[in-house]
């Protein structure tokens, strides 16, 4: 996924020590007239498209089959029994409707975790990009270092810390670690450096706006494309998070969808357990729908260059 690039030519400024790294605007080499067609490129893109769509297609087709139908039919074509509606209703009612509970849990973790992470990243990124203070370089080093540490490596220490605080097996154990997104902070920092002209902030200050008001009414609208990008990243990460809740949560009442579906999947490998592959697949399909919807809905906010023309250079 490409990070957003400012289409506005960067204001040449002396890059003082500790100033955030700049994104250089990309200059697409567009030949005037009709774009050139490349057969090879079209083919490669087509293959990649297939590669990403076939699993989704398989999931959609599989969700229409019964448990028995899954075993007897070809994976990429429909079975005689079309059981999609029945599967959906069973998914929602199986085990006293625990799926609904998992869905709500996931929404809670995404709204609180990803929403909070985005808000913190915007605040921090703005501050780091637009204010000078001692120790900025150190902060930069820490953030870059944090981006390099995989979350999995932190999971066990985090677990031990949380269990000392008595927070394991509560929603907080999932929400609090999700609030920290070094990558989101870094992205916002870079984006804010490019997207908010310092002149605009100076203008706001001269007009007598307080720092808070400057942030909320001048900076925030300009940061929208970056904010949405970070929101999507953190949302996908929280929505798909498996490992963190796996070690933090033991009570199925607090499971997110990932863990819940996994526990249904494992039923098939349990003595006396019921094999419900059809519900696992239908549940998975229902689980990816909101993500796809979010992407489509937030698509339009992805355009950068909102600040173009706001100042005359």
């Amino acid at each position: 996924m490409s990070s957003t690039t400012a289409s506005r030519p960067a204001v040449p400024k002396a890059g003082g020590p500790g100033s955030a790294p700049r994104l250089r605007p990309t200059r697409g080499r567009r030949t005037p007239g009709r774009p050139r067609r490349s057969v090879l490129l079209t083919l490669v893109t087509g293959v990649v498209l297939l590669y990403s769509l076939v699993p989704l297609l398989w999931l959609v087709i599989s969700a229409t089959k019964t448990q028995a139908g899954l075993a007897r039919s070809f994976g990429l074509w429909f079975d005689g029994d079309f059981a999609l509606w029945e599967n959906i209703s069973r998914t929602f009612t199986y085990h006293d409707g625990v799926f609904v509970r998992w869905l709500l849990n996931t929404l809670l973790y995404v709204v609180a975790g990803a929403g909070g992470a985005t808000f913190l990243a915007v605040l921090g990124g703005y501050a780091l990009a637009k204010f000078d203070f001692p120790g900025k370089r150190a902060v930069f080093a820490v953030v870059i270092g944090a981006v390099a540490v995989p979350g999995t490596a932190l999971a066990v220490p985090t677990f031990l810390m949380f269990s000392k605080m008595g927070l394991t097996d509560t929603p907080w154990a999932v929400i609090i670690p999700s609030l920290i997104s070094p990558f989101g902070l870094y992205l916002m920092w870079v984006f804010a450096t490019e997207a908010i002209p310092t002149e605009l902030m100076e203008a706001a200050r001269i007009d007598g706006a307080s720092e808070l008001r400057t942030f909320f009414q001048v900076a925030l609208p300009l940061l929208a494309p970056g904010t949405v990008t970070v929101l999507l990243f953190t949302m996908v990460a929280t929505w798909n998070n498996y490992f963190l809740p796996l070690i933090m949560l033991k009570d199925p009442d607090w499971y997110p969808l990932t863990l819940g579906l996994d526990s249904w999947n494992k039923q098939a490998a349990t003595a006396g357990g019921e094999a419900v592959f059809n519900l696992v697949l239908t549940g998975s399909l229902l689980t990816v729908v909101p993500l796809i919807a979010a992407f489509l809905l937030l698509q339009k906010y992805w355009q950068s260059g909102l600040s173009a023309g706001s100042v005359k250079e």
Partner: protein, 445 residues
Amino acid sequence: MPKHTPRLLRGLGLVCALALGATACGGSDGDSAEEQVSPADIRTALKEGGTVTVWAWEPTLEQVAADFEKKYPKVDVKLVNAGTNNDEYKALQNAISAKKGVPDVAQVEYYALSQYALTKSVTDLAPYGADKLAGSYSPGPWNAVRSGDGVYGLPMDSGPMALFYNKKVFDAHRIAVPTTWDEYVEAARKLHKADPKAYITSDIGDAGLTTTLLWQAGSHPYKVDGTTVGIDFADAGAKKYTETWQKLIDEKLLAPVAGWSDDWYKGLGDGTIATLPIGAWMPANFASGVKDAAGDWRAAPLPQWAEGENAGAENGGSSLALPELGKNKALAYAFVEYANSGPGVQTRIKNGAFPATTKDLNSEAFQNTEFPYFGGQKANKIFAESAKNTSTDWSYLPYQVYANSVFNDTVGKAYVSGTPLSQGLQAWQDATVKYGTEQGFTVRK
């Protein structure tokens, strides 16, 4: 969905698991004088009530917990599925390390129990009266929950081995049901020749199956005496097993399908996996997972290593144990006894569990239960016979959970490359010897 096996957690447990009696690992410090807990104490606990947190993945416990709460209104049983086998053990080990969130009752499989018993992380139930239940369980499971004079859990179910076979496939190819393993190999050849898509069974390396078959063959690979263990895969019993199974591997007579995968269920349904040597708890899984083949399958006694023998073995099965750091022990024990020795047993049998209690195994009603899935066959007769014929001189390693986790890296190679099975077992032996030594065991080869 990505499945990460949190490998790094695996160390957590055993790092401290074997620092015997070390308080850092939540082991009880020193041997506190064992107090007898009288039935009256337990009754009082039930009257006072409280909460019992139970970690178990056994589905039949849901009904048992509900019944128990009805009978003792002041007791609240919180049944939590904290994952199946390894997942739960990791979680349990984490909770024990952190000394937080340890359940009052945990489901622990027989092969894993000795590890917890040795590190004193589960409670000895003898003072609660569990030692008086000795005669009421079948030999295999009872032997598995005992260690020295202690009883570290109550057997919940058992898995005496049987051979499930697809009668429709056998009839179609006119193959007789094998009674010895040699006949089994013959049947495998005949079947695969008649239908190249069909295999006698699927096996890509499964620690549970291998140890069970070694048990049946009279092999004693593991000798355990406290923290002294012997590991040896070269006795006569092991030879019988490797020679026979080697034929199946060499002639490509085993379907390369992982157990419990959807392909496996598919193969059981369409006749391409024609038999299944597995524990007696399997019928419930057949009924729910292989619906399309209802009526095709039958149970038969497990094939023998020599004509006229009559040896059984146990495969799988779990106990309910009381973690040392759990609370409310009298109450927790009351629930375990209700579920595994009291009225709960009947409830669980009704819902498809296979009991470990001799009284139920031998009862008329149980033996005469007809399985519609097996065309009305009274399969329990076969299972109960197998349970009775299981030798009790089998023991697992006190770190079998680890041993099983490296099975596929060692023995598993024999299934995919030219490594002979006996060498695979040797590699498994070396890996487990090395690990045991590292963990502070005295290991004799």
